[in-house]
Symmetry: C2
Subunit: 252 residues, 2 copies
DNA sequence: CGACTTGTTGATGTACATCAAGGTACGTGG
DNA sequence: CCACGTACCTTGATGTACATCAACAAGTCG
């Protein structure tokens, strides 16, 4: 099982970061950009399947995702796995390690990824020198919490069909925000086993539920290509209630 | 349905706060104490059953719990309810409202409570003037995230018996940290229906599972009084894996 | 006035039929 | 070989129904 190593890559200045211009992301002042450029210690390429962070250990790094997908998960001693959330470009990873000595969850790359690396010990400098950036970190933590709340509602109280619709819709919307979709389609990097482990269902039942969902003609999912055919219908099935009217989000 | 109103109560200086001396909580400098005293706009008494925060609305306040219990929950249009987490003394409420326009969850008092109230608009002053306190807020958000991760693992991947043991143990440990337990007992303020809504189970099945758990003689729960009879056995059944070796936590 | 009855309500406990979800097995196709 | 698809039987969880018990309010009677 591959483990992420220390970053070696070259450094691209943050002003030239391909994500920086995205309309969902809040603008940084030149000063902030400059600070973050120094905060950054390097870039890291990892292959799909790499463990970026590992339950029971502690990493000296914080990561921002420049490209690719990952997922956070917890795994029990007997192998049962719960996927907690998915991470995609502009997401932030590793903050929990600043609170506990040991990570309580793992993060695995779903695809090849490009990450921005920050040394954890510099985090304090960010708090003391740049309160707006500190607030951004809190913002991102609170957003993660919100996503987890929704997931918990899904798994605990929605039916298999609702859950499935809800998860796919949720991931589509997040991907859409960072420009990963083309019209109503997206190339999802995960398998039915991942869906099963996210929704607390068995693989077989997930498969049957996905077929049932496809039969409603609200969506299609073939060869990892997900397509929304009738968004309103899908929202209806998912029982989606999020107002989702968010301000522009931070990206560190 | 009662809704919390603006605080009217008198103000007790933070130096005399009964929680401040607890050994799990980190010490504040006199300067920090002074700032927090000013940050605080008042105290609020609420009765059991009061909605402190309401899904779909936004509150101008942040709260710290001085005494009593509450629970965070999300409720679907048809009444299905998912309890996300419980809140007890020294916990912080309402941060998510600083991230989204509308609260995505509700908070209801389980018992009569005494709260410390902070106006949300002063939060920025805390970030700009007191980075250590800002970091504390982030710390608390990351801790909430960690608890949610564990809950999601519970609901998604553990059996009914494991879940139940896990939840009761988790709440006991948290309560123990803030001194709410007497030896191996605690007066829990919730009913079997709350447990059911936390674990994503029906009331009937929760009842059967609790009986089954009691039959292992690792715990007892009668008239809301919860008692751990064999802690190791309970940890075993719960499949508890948390290292739990945390530094002293902040309390704002 | 106090003691006793009655009715109500919320929490818990248990039985039984039903159904959603799981597990195993064995397909296919790339 | 892995991801997906489907059949089959089994089991865990649900929903309904009903019984118990304590707390509490209202009303009645000696």
């Amino acid at each position: 099982m591959a483990i992420a190593v220390a970053p070696t890559g070259r450094k691209v200045p943050c002003e030239k970061c391909p994500l920086r211009g995205k309309p969902v992301l809040r603008d940084f002042t030149p000063e902030e950009l400059d600070f973050v450029s120094n905060f950054k210690s390097g870039e890291l390429h990892v292959d799909a399947g790499t463990n970026l962070l590992l339950q029971g250990t502690n990493s000296a790094h914080l990561y921002t995702i420049l490209s690719g997908w990952a997922f956070r998960h917890k795994t029990l001693a007997d192998g049962r796995r719960q996927i907690l959330n998915y991470s995609m470009p502009a997401d932030f990873l590793g903050l929990q390690g600043s609170v506990t000595d040991e990570m309580q969850h793992s993060v695995e790359a779903l695809t090849d990824m490009l990450l921005c690396v920050f040394p954890r010990e510099k985090l304090w400098g960010l708090y003391s020198g740049h309160p707006a950036l500190a607030f951004d970190v809190t913002w991102l933590a609170a957003r993660e919490e919100q996503i987890l709340d929704e997931n918990l509602l899904n798994v605990g109280r929605r039916t298999a069909l609702e859950r499935t619709a809800s998860l796919l819709l949720h991931l589509f919307i997040r991907a859409e925000e960072v420009g990963l979709t083309k019209a109503s389609t997206i190339q999802f990097p995960f398998t039915q086993q991942h869906i099963a482990d996210t929704l607390g269902m068995s693989l077989v039942h997930t498969n049957k539920t996905l077929k049932r969902l496809a039969a409603t003609r609200s969506m299609r999912w073939k060869d990892r290509l997900f397509e929304i055919l009738d968004r309103d219908a899908l929202v209806q099935i998912a029982g989606y209630e999020q107002s989702q009217q968010r301000a522009r989000r931070p990206f560190i």
